[in-house]
Assembly symmetry: C2
Homo-oligomer: 409 residues x 2
């Protein structure tokens, strides 16, 4: 196969994670190693930076810089939430032509886009458009999302670190709430609009310790207030400090978000409902019903960018999948998303592969019903066995003055 020579550009898109910079480092490492790629550029703020020509040369990234980048949270190149038009007709066509104009200007033949569902949609469209106009180019998506809800891959880079943060913090919260003998309910709200993977991770401490949240509610099962009250009553029989892990996205059987009552109407750029009141709504409900001490804790942004507590497995895999994206692109692939495949067997082992992006973009991979207990208030051992290997290991961090040092472009 004829190799395509030229420059490469990489961008980051969607919500920050603790591992997206590790994937960026992987792409840069791959590009620096690849003889078909002359220069590796970075687009600031994803596809917006391509259009705005806020493009920086990454060819001078040293081992020291790359290593620090890998333990830096959020998106070092900046991110965006821009969604490209549905088709290339009429007015819509212009934005695609503008992007290609920049690619031509910089002789870009490789485009790597690190992101979640919405970003894979961008990859799919750009790949289709370049094919349509006959501009020879390899467009590759590299997954990233703490939500772990991308289809086609065993798990997503960024999930393991978020899961480790959630499980560790959960363990600490349970220790904290257990010090008093007064009856109290603590409700911990965890991210996850449609998929409960992050909330499921809250139960990981049960594998190794004496503590675990008493109740775990995922969006995959309809939330029922009466059952919830019964669950709490039952948990009080065991100890006075009941801890609940709940996904921000839980809905009642009629499809209404539990958190909707306290935060209504607002939507994000993609039309997703903006939620932030699930923990608070349940706090008020429990206070009303039981009259006991209740506290709600929203793990909020720290759960997605706590690189001080990232999973070494996650970071190592994130670097590897970014690097592999370059190899796959250099070998001629385009319009693909890189994926993890898990090997069969007792020992955890992953392979890296590519998959066709159609069918991945805009699909959501939920927690299977078999991973949730019958009553819908906890996760199964099988579920925890799936998550457990993803949080293993602690990367070596560089500290300065007691604070983790971050890489800045």
């Amino acid at each position: 196969m004829k190799k395509l020579f030229g420059n490469a550009i990489v961008g980051q898109s969607g919500g920050p994670t603790a591992a997206i910079n590790a994937t960026l480092s992987g792409v840069i490492r791959g590009a620096l190693e690849c003889d078909a790629i002359e220069k590796i550029y970075g687009a600031k703020n994803g596809i917006e930076g391509v259009l705005a020509r806020t493009i920086i040369d990454l060819s001078d990234m040293t081992e020291e810089k790359l290593s620090l980048l890998e333990t830096t949270p959020a998106a070092a190149l900046g991110s965006c939430r821009k969604k490209l038009p549905k088709n290339f007709d009429g007015e819509n066509r212009k934005i695609f032509e503008d992007i290609i104009a920049v690619f031509k200007e910089y002789n870009i033949r490789y485009f790597f886009y690190i992101g979640g569902n919405d970003s894979m949609d961008t990859v799919a469209k750009l790949s289709r458009f370049t094919k349509e106009i006959g501009y020879e180019m390899h467009v590759m998506g590299v997954p990233k999302t703490i939500d772990n809800d991308l289809a086609g891959t065993d798990h997503t880079p960024g999930y393991g670190s978020a899961a480790k943060y959630i499980a560790t913090t959960m363990q600490e919260i349970i220790r904290d709430t257990a010090v008093y003998t007064v009856k109290a309910v603590t409700i911990v709200e965890i991210m996850g609009r449609d998929a409960g993977w992050l909330t499921a991770a809250a139960a990981l401490p049960s594998l190794y310790s004496d503590v675990t949240p008493d109740l775990v509610y995922l969006p995959e099962v309809a939330f029922d207030y009466d059952k919830f009250y019964e669950d709490i009553e039952k948990a009080f029989e065991k100890h006075p400090n009941v801890v609940v892990a709940v996904s921000e996205g839980v809905r009642t059987a009629d499809g209404i978000y539990v958190g909707e009552g306290t935060q209504s109407g607002a939507t994000d750029a993609f039309g997703h409902k903006y939620l932030s009141g699930t923990g608070k709504a349940l706090e008020l409900a429990v206070k009303d019903k039981f009259g006991c001490k209740v506290r709600s804790i929203e793990l909020n942004l720290p759960q997605r960018c706590a690189s001080h507590l990232s999973s070494k497995t996650d970071l190592d895999e994130s670097v590897a999948i970014g690097r592999s994206a370059v190899w796959y692109a250099a070998s001629g692939e385009t319009g693909k998303m890189m994926i993890f495949t898990r090997m069969e067997g007792e020992k955890y082992e992953v392979g890296i592969d590519s998959a066709d992006i159609s069918g991945i973009a805009n699909a959501v991979r939920s927690v299977p019903r078999s991973y949730i207990n019958e009553r819908g208030n906890g996760v199964t051992k099988e579920c925890l066995s799936y998550i457990a290997p993803l949080i293993i290991g602690e990367p070596t961090l560089v500290y300065e003055g007691g604070l983790p040092k971050h890489f800045v472009f």
Copy 2:
């Protein structure tokens, strides 16, 4: 001086911290070393456990157990919020007599109480009562509070770890919010009812990095909404992502808590107003005023029990002050609280001493006005120089399955 031979008991009280177990370990270490002390007991749930005789023998604590205890969050012995009666008259006398009865039963001659303001009040009263009735006993207080607001000591055990967590998390939140180019305000609510020490720590990243919260509001300065809006407008001139660190305890000039609007009436066992709505109240205010994207983040419980991110300096000092409490008690002191004194000079060095508890209990040490900038929206270099050494160093944690391992009695 005649040595007092007998047994010792230690209890933990007040809110959990990441370092209170290190102090417990220090007390146990000191007691095991001290030839005047035969047995070292632990009272579960503080003074409540003395009264309930939920007392465990700690004499078999090995080096391995003690070391793991030191990096375990919350209060391994359990805690309480019990406040003893104001005087020993009439009915009040009974509870003091009940406590002494238990002490006599266990031949307790040394009582170590690890806690904050309210716990030091217990130490003061018990010390007075034992003197009054002529029961020979040494009652010593060992400070603990993330709030750093105890009088008489340079700083408090537990503060350094909380400060490290807050500064690290702040740094990560700022990186996270900086990835988008859309105008947005992020408000981070930090603990501290009356003193702004914890919130001040949010500005530590400015010492070593390119990021720092744009605005920092402490309860020591009256909060002014108009000035706040002006501050935000000014911050927007620098960049689109404005980050605010605010203490839960900020009040307007008329003494009304900013958070009171969203959470009114409730008080804790000591009659302190229960606050939890400061960040939320400011979020709504900013949304109303600027119409931009606003998010509030409450650091909540994790800031006080995140032992996975504790300060080695804090833990080492916490062990040392607990151990010293035993030495001081064995040398005949009673009714005292152990304190840190900071040596003059460039290099950070602390001494440990004891101080009379009257004047310490129930007093609050605020952030001095000179540590806050003139406008009241930030802290000075002097303030950061005071905090900086307290967060230095990372303890070695034991991990199991990717999660920090905790000690359990």
